[in-house]
């Protein structure tokens, strides 16, 4: 049994565990949630345990404990949506050390989502009531073990306040899959950046400090590849597919490269720096594009 499961009792008040714990791994996750499985498999998924509590008034609370291979992957799943009521359990890391929102448990509408260590946890009441919310919070507190540090790649996110772009910390998402990226910022239905489990990637938006500028925000994609060769080939692939009219030849042997491109949504900049690829979309003008290249 998952050690986390041992943290929670069979009975909480009037609520009782009502079914055997369901064990789900990559071989049967599609049976459990159909195409939704692609989300979890897009991260480094190990297995899932599912249990239910029921109450005398026939309400049900579903508990899903996703054990991921790393805490980065659990963080990534939570980071897809930072909205909701922030819930602070046993916080041990100072918020000064964090770039993303500090609360790693978020509640709304009867659903508590949280990331703790390498676990991503969903606790859902089928009917939201005061009693159900109280039990959800008790379960959350029992299951919440620690706040892990953020994925390393977040430390590479550039701050650009000095050139008028303010990062939206509640729009930071860590991912490894183009499907996850597309669900946040649609790029292409093809895997143009060769994302896979060996890649750590993050996307975040920045709002302009200048009023009435269009586009109002820029979007950064930053990916760390296992080596320079894969990073260079991935950027080359992206430019060939996304910017097919471009005539610039990308030398994949070079360890650094940067360029800006005029596209429909304004300007786009790409940068290769050893095994990191940065791309910024929606830049309003060429001057801003040149400034941004110097910051990423």
């Amino acid at each position: 049994m998952n050690t986390l499961l041992q943290s929670i009792p069979e009975t909480i008040g009037d609520w009782q565990q009502c079914k055997e714990v369901q064990q789900i791994d990559s071989s049967n996750i599609f049976d459990y949630m159909n195409g939704g499985a692609e989300l979890y498999l897009g991260y480094r998924f190990n297995h899932l345990e599912v249990l239910e509590y029921s109450s005398e008034d026939k309400n049900t609370i579903l508990v899903e404990i996703y054990q991921m291979e790393t805490s980065d992957d659990a963080f990534g799943l939570l980071s897809i949506d930072w909205s909701g009521e922030q819930v602070m359990f046993n916080q041990t890391i100072s918020s000064d050390e964090l770039l993303a929102p500090e609360a790693r448990a978020l509640y709304g509408g009867g659903l508590l989502r949280m990331a703790t260590g390498k676990y991503y946890i969903r606790i859902l009441a089928f009917r939201e009531t005061t009693d159900a919310k109280s039990v959800i919070m008790q379960l959350g507190k029992l299951l919440y073990k620690d706040l892990s540090s953020e994925p390393e790649i977040l430390r590479q996110i550039p701050l650009m306040d000095d050139i008028g772009w303010i990062m939206n910390s509640d729009k930071i998402t860590f991912f490894r899959s183009y499907m996850v990226l597309n669900s946040l910022f649609y790029l292409s239905h093809q895997n143009l950046l060769n994302l896979d489990h060996s890649v750590s990637a993050v996307t975040v938006s920045y709002n302009s400090q200048v009023k009435n500028v269009k586009p109002r925000y820029i979007q950064l994609l930053l990916a760390e590849y296992p080596n320079q060769k894969k990073a260079a080939e991935s950027l080359k692939h992206f430019i060939e597919e996304f910017l097919p009219e471009n005539t610039i030849m990308i030398d994949t042997v070079k360890s650094s490269y940067s360029h800006n491109f005029k596209v429909e949504e304004g300007w786009l900049v790409c940068k290769l720096d050893n095994n990191f690829v940065s791309i910024v979309f929606n830049i309003p003008d060429q001057l801003s594009a040149k400034q941004i290249i110097n910051h990423i």
Binding site: M33, G35, D81, R122, M179, F185
Partner: protein
């Protein structure tokens, strides 16, 4: 061997408004790419009643049955409810009711009321199946619940037959544009007599699992004969609700390729708002259609 060039649909195709061309290019060489005859105007009925659900989301089946009757009369233009069903189904039909089993399932209460309606025109229970086997049916009712979908943008009407393919994973991502081809499979083609969308409690964010914050009590049924027109209206309602939630534009991501492709590539109906006539019945508050 030379690697075959893949036509990637990208963000830029959407910004340029060249989606149709991009979809067409990406689907070149696939089976069933054909544009069929379409009516000049497609009717979509949106029927709502505030009393159909209470605050705890329990269904009032009497009200729901009334809503269904109103919907059927409006779709068919017949004078009686039985005549309206008989204008679409024959007494000896074997009817497959195709529901959504996952994510935001079709309400069982609605399925039961549809079964009773079919019983009332002489179709016995043994000839009504909640089914994923179209080959055993002479008529189909496409009866999904209204919802967004994280791999296809929208997961309502056109996507509802995905299990008929036997290969659902083949229709995700860019291949979701091909969902329309399933409607042309020999065991499916021409059998769909009614599109009836359960919009009682829709889901406007993509999932992949339900987040209750993105469900709301729309308390509606959305129906028609043209699957693309009905999906287009569903898309409009979901998109409008999303924008309201965020207070700014919050487009579906990934974009729903399947609806426009079902029109422009597979000829299953119209996705052009100008060619869709919406008739609303009942509760008008927060219709989300303007």
């Amino acid at each position: 061997m030379q690697k075959q060039k893949v036509n990637a649909i990208t963000r830029r195709d959407f910004i340029r408004g060249s989606l149709t061309a991009a979809i067409g290019a990406s689907l070149a060489g696939t089976k069933f790419v054909q544009a069929g005859e379409k009516p000049s105007v497609s009717n979509v009925i949106v029927t709502r009643n505030k009393a159909v659900m209470d605050n705890e989301l329990n269904i009032n089946t009497t009200v729901l049955a009334e809503m269904l009757d109103q919907t059927m009369l409006a779709i068919t233009g017949q004078k009686s409810v039985n005549e309206s069903w008989l204008s679409l189904f024959k007494k000896d039909d074997s009817v497959g009711i195709v529901t959504t089993p996952h994510l935001n399932p079709t309400h069982k209460e609605l399925v039961d009321i549809v079964k009773i309606s079919l019983n009332q025109i002489g179709i016995s229970d043994k000839n009504i199946k909640v089914s994923n086997k179209p080959e055993n049916c002479t008529a189909l009712i496409c009866m999904p619940a209204l919802k967004a979908h994280w791999l296809t943008g929208i997961g309502t009407v056109i996507k509802n037959y995905i299990m008929f393919s036997g290969r659902p994973r083949d229709y995700h991502n860019q291949d979701s544009a091909k969902l329309g081809e399933i409607w042309h499979l020999p065991e499916v083609k021409g059998k769909t007599k009614l599109i009836l969308v359960d919009a009682l409690h829709p889901l406007c964010d993509k999932g992949p699992q339900v987040d209750p914050r993105y469900k709301w009590a729309y308390k509606g049924l959305i129906a028609g004969i043209d699957p693309v027109a009905v999906d287009t209206i569903c898309l409009k309602i979901i998109s409008t609700k999303r924008d309201l939630i965020k207070g700014e534009s919050w487009p579906l991501s990934p974009p729903p390729l399947c609806v426009e492709a079902a029109d422009k590539v597979y000829g299953l109906g119209t996705s052009d708002f100008k060619n869709i006539k919406i008739q609303t019945i009942g509760w008008k508050e927060d219709l989300l259609l303007s």
